[in-house]
């Protein structure tokens, strides 16, 4: 019982903090719109339908970046003694980790929802059943993304170090995922790398569910992102249990 209440406590804190940081919501909605309306429109003038094509990619990109960035807040909690306050409570570390994961997923889903509101502009008509599926796929995918951020946050001591590491994580995951270009006719080595990248399957599923034209079977997509998220949860709970505190 107390684990559940602890989980709720962590989630509630993360959610409230998110709602109170207006700048965080604003900035997270701003850059994807820039991608869609400037980058998408610009390149779209050369390649017809490009703006539509990257719409699902931008949804995944936005939620990927903010999910991973969310891990930086662990470092702030560490710098103050807030993290100690949480860790000294009788709540298990794995519960704290799950509370944080679902907190981060909630934040990212809100950002994703803002972008889904723009669907009509891209002439994408979403069926209700598809919307439910989109949320299910996004949820599973984001659990994995947020876990990556938290793992990095639990290891790093400084925000600078965190920024450096995530730079090496974010962009490869994005560029090698088919979010911004077709992955069907790539040179051999790129094909291999994109097939290894789990984000590819997330983007593929979201694309299939929004504008259609997925490369893989949706069940395969789901299987792979589920396996990915479970492995990240596994590593994340381990990283949290090993997280060392300075006295």
């Amino acid at each position: 019982m107390s684990e559940l209440s602890g989980f709720y406590a962590i989630w509630k804190r993360e959610f409230k903090v998110f709602l109170r940081e207006k700048s965080r919501i604003f900035s997270s909605a701003f850059s994807p719109l820039l991608w869609l309306f400037v980058f998408g429109a610009g390149l779209g003038s050369e390649i017809s339908g490009y703006q539509n094509y990257i719409y699902p990619g931008v949804i995944v990109m936005t939620t990927l970046f903010s999910s991973i960035f969310y891990g930086a807040y662990v470092i702030w909690d560490k710098r103050l003694d807030f993290l100690k306050e949480v860790l000294v409570s009788p709540v298990k570390r794995s519960t704290i980790f799950f509370g944080k994961v679902i907190g981060g997923v909630t934040d990212a889903l809100i950002q994703g929802s803002i972008l889904l509101l723009f669907a009509p502009i891209f002439a994408v008509s979403l069926h209700l059943s598809y919307i439910v599926l989109i949320y299910i796929y996004l949820f599973v995918l984001l659990v994995g993304f947020v876990s990556i951020g938290l793992i990095i946050g639990s290891i790093m001591e400084s925000p600078e170090g965190f920024g450096l590491i995530t730079g090496f994580v974010n962009f490869p995951l994005l560029f090698l995922s088919g979010a911004l270009f077709q992955i069907k006719q790539l040179p051999g080595w790129l094909t291999i790398v994109t097939r290894i990248n789990p984000v590819t399957y997330g983007v593929d599923a979201i694309r299939g569910l929004t504008i259609g034209g997925n490369t893989f079977n949706l069940f395969l997509d789901f299987g792979i992102i589920t396996a990915f998220s479970f492995s990240m949860i596994f590593i994340g709970t381990y990283a949290f249990s090993r997280m060392k505190l300075k006295p």
Partner: protein, 338 residues
């Protein structure tokens, strides 16, 4: 300190904290021995102080007792539970107020307390009742719905004190409770600590590097230096054992040989140009001392403080500033980057 806690020591005599050969070596920091084989016991209802300069090992000791840092060897029993084998039970028995700000400053004072109540699994009814009670105790009822970032340093500490008590712990840990606060605010915080000790009848372990703080709040004090307990006694006895008043003289060439022959001089220590003498009946003998010691620049006579005790036992002056940084600097640092 409260009259209650002193009485309890004499009547009940139950050790609620038993520390056995606790030791911590930081391997990643060139094998620094932060805590070196310390043992002590604390009785129920007592206010116990760990006093020492920065880096003496106080906070490390506290972190080990709070199960946040694993000891290299040795163990401790808190409220009958072993810190290594029963850490979950230990955590339920203790409340802790950390050295650095540890509340979320985007949340209100009330929300921080609510969060704490949920973490400790308090049901809604109990939670709300206790929050009201502890907010009353630290006079923060009025400001409870303001975000913590709008609080002063003292208010923030008060809310954190309240929070430490919310789940009714048997033992309250206070890590440098007034670090970086101005003198007036420190006085207030001391009053609140005294009040909660009296009303909640909680056992308190506090760390401090302020002599006056230990003197004012603690029933017993362990002076820690380089990870070892130098002496453990009541502040009164520590001061009394020095055997008299302190005379401090600023003098270039003291004639210490002659002073040593005076029977009423109990102790002599010298640091640069300053000579400290512990003298029985100092007021009567001052004239004579001044006659034999030589040409004096200035003289000061007063009753001994814990500072003198520290100097007496370690041979070093007690420095108050250090590398740990103030409370406000950390908040400023945190805010500018968040």
């Amino acid at each position: 300190m409260s009259a209650y806690s002193k009485k309890t020591i004499r009547v009940i005599q139950i050790s609620i904290v038993k520390v056995k050969n606790l030791r911590k070596v930081f391997e990643d920091k060139e094998d620094i021995v932060a805590v070196d084989n310390i043992s002590f016991e604390i009785e129920e209802g007592e206010v116990f102080g760990l006093l020492g300069p920065n880096g003496a090992g106080k906070t490390t000791t506290l972190s080990m007792l709070a199960t946040l840092v694993k000891p290299t060897s040795g163990t401790a029993e808190i409220n009958g539970f072993d810190i290594l084998k029963e850490s979950h039970e230990v955590r339920k028995s203790i409340g802790i107020v950390f050295q650095n700000p540890s509340s979320d400053d985007l949340l209100t004072g009330y929300e921080n307390l609510e969060l704490h109540g949920l973490l400790y699994g308090l049901s809604k009814d109990i939670r709300e009742k206790r929050i009201k009670n502890v907010l009353d105790l630290v006079d923060m009822e009025e400001r409870k719905d303001d975000q913590v970032k709008k609080y002063s340093g003292g208010m923030r500490r008060r809310v954190e004190l309240a929070r430490g008590l919310l789940h009714d712990p048997k033992i309250l840990f206070l890590d440098e409770p007034t670090l970086g606060l101005d003198p007036q605010t420190r006085e207030h915080i001391w009053n609140y600590i005294e009040r909660l000790v009296e009303e909640k009848k909680v056992t308190v372990i506090l760390t401090t590097h302020y002599m006056d703080e230990a003197d004012r709040l603690c029933d017993r004090v362990a002076i820690i230096d380089f990870g070892k307990i130098v002496v453990l006694e009541t502040p009164e006895k520590l001061k009394r054992d020095l055997g008299g008043e302190i005379i401090r003289l600023k003098i270039k060439k003291p004639n210490l040989q002659k002073v040593k022959k005076l029977k009423y001089v109990e102790n002599i220590s010298k640091l640069n140009d300053t000579v400290s003498l512990t003298v029985r009946d100092a007021n009567r003998h001052l004239q004579e001392i001044l006659k034999v010691i030589g040409k004096v620049e200035s003289v000061e006579s007063r009753s001994p403080t814990l500072n003198d005790v520290f100097l007496h036992y370690t041979g070093r002056e007690f420095r108050e500033e250090g590398a740990e940084g103030g409370f406000w600097e950390r908040i400023a640092d945190y805010r500018s980057k968040r």
